[in-house]
């Protein structure tokens, strides 16, 4: 079963997953969503990069950060064009579900995936919608 990671766990995975995250994934295929990935890239683009890259010109610093957050080919992202209509119907039918949340549910449906999120960014909207649709949703302690 594919594991759909939220942006926090995606960051953790790309930074070098801890044993708890490895156990939760269990060598299953990984995926994330366009909007979770976009949110991660937004944070990375705003990061100051600190002393590590501070000597580099801005353009080269951005290239380095872009390379570091580039998704590995092994992580699936379902194109928005394949999800958009389902996202629309989910938002229409489920109160409290954000656009980001609707993409997560639609992607999990499309992939037959289970959703794995950080406990610190647990989403009642996604959780409830997944429960209604029989999609597995779980969090791990962060």
């Amino acid at each position: 079963v594919t594991v759909l990671l939220d942006d926090h766990l995606l960051r953790d995975w790309m930074a070098g997953p801890d044993p708890q995250l490895r156990r939760a994934v269990r060598r299953e295929p990984l995926a994330t969503t366009n909007l979770w990935y976009a949110r991660l890239c937004k944070s990375a683009a705003r990061a100051t990069a600190g002393a590590l890259l501070g000597e580099l010109p801005t353009a080269q610093r951005r290239e380095v950060v872009a390379a570091l957050v580039r998704l590995p080919d092994s992580i699936t992202v379902v194109p928005m064009r394949d999800l958009a209509w389902r996202m629309g119907t989910l938002v229409a039918q489920h109160r409290g579900l954000s656009t980001l949340g609707s993409e997560a549910v639609a992607a999990a449906e499309a992939l037959g995936a289970r959703v794995l999120a950080s406990s610190r960014d647990d989403s009642p909207g996604i959780r409830q919608c997944c429960a209604d649709l029989g999609i597995r949703y779980s969090t791990i302690d962060r």
Binding site: D7, H8, R11, D12, M14, A15, G16, L35, A38, R39, L40, K42, S43, A44, R46, A47, A49, G50, L52, L53, Q60, E63, V64, V65, A66, A67, L68, V69, R70, G96, L97, S98, T99, L100, G101, R120, D121, S123, P124, G125, I126, R142
Partner: protein, 43 residues
């Protein structure tokens, strides 16, 4: 690490550690908590 303008060769795992230093988990949690784009809020 393919930088576009060149390729940086680093030992295995170094790219992940660089990412962890450039964007620590706490910094991303803080950015998400302060997210003001309604399409990107958790929900």
């Amino acid at each position: 690490v393919d930088l576009g303008f060149g390729v940086l060769t680093v030992p295995a795992g170094t790219a992940g550690r660089l990412l962890d230093e450039i964007l620590p988990a706490e910094e991303h949690y803080a950015a998400v908590a302060a997210e003001d784009d309604p399409d990107l809020v958790t929900g």
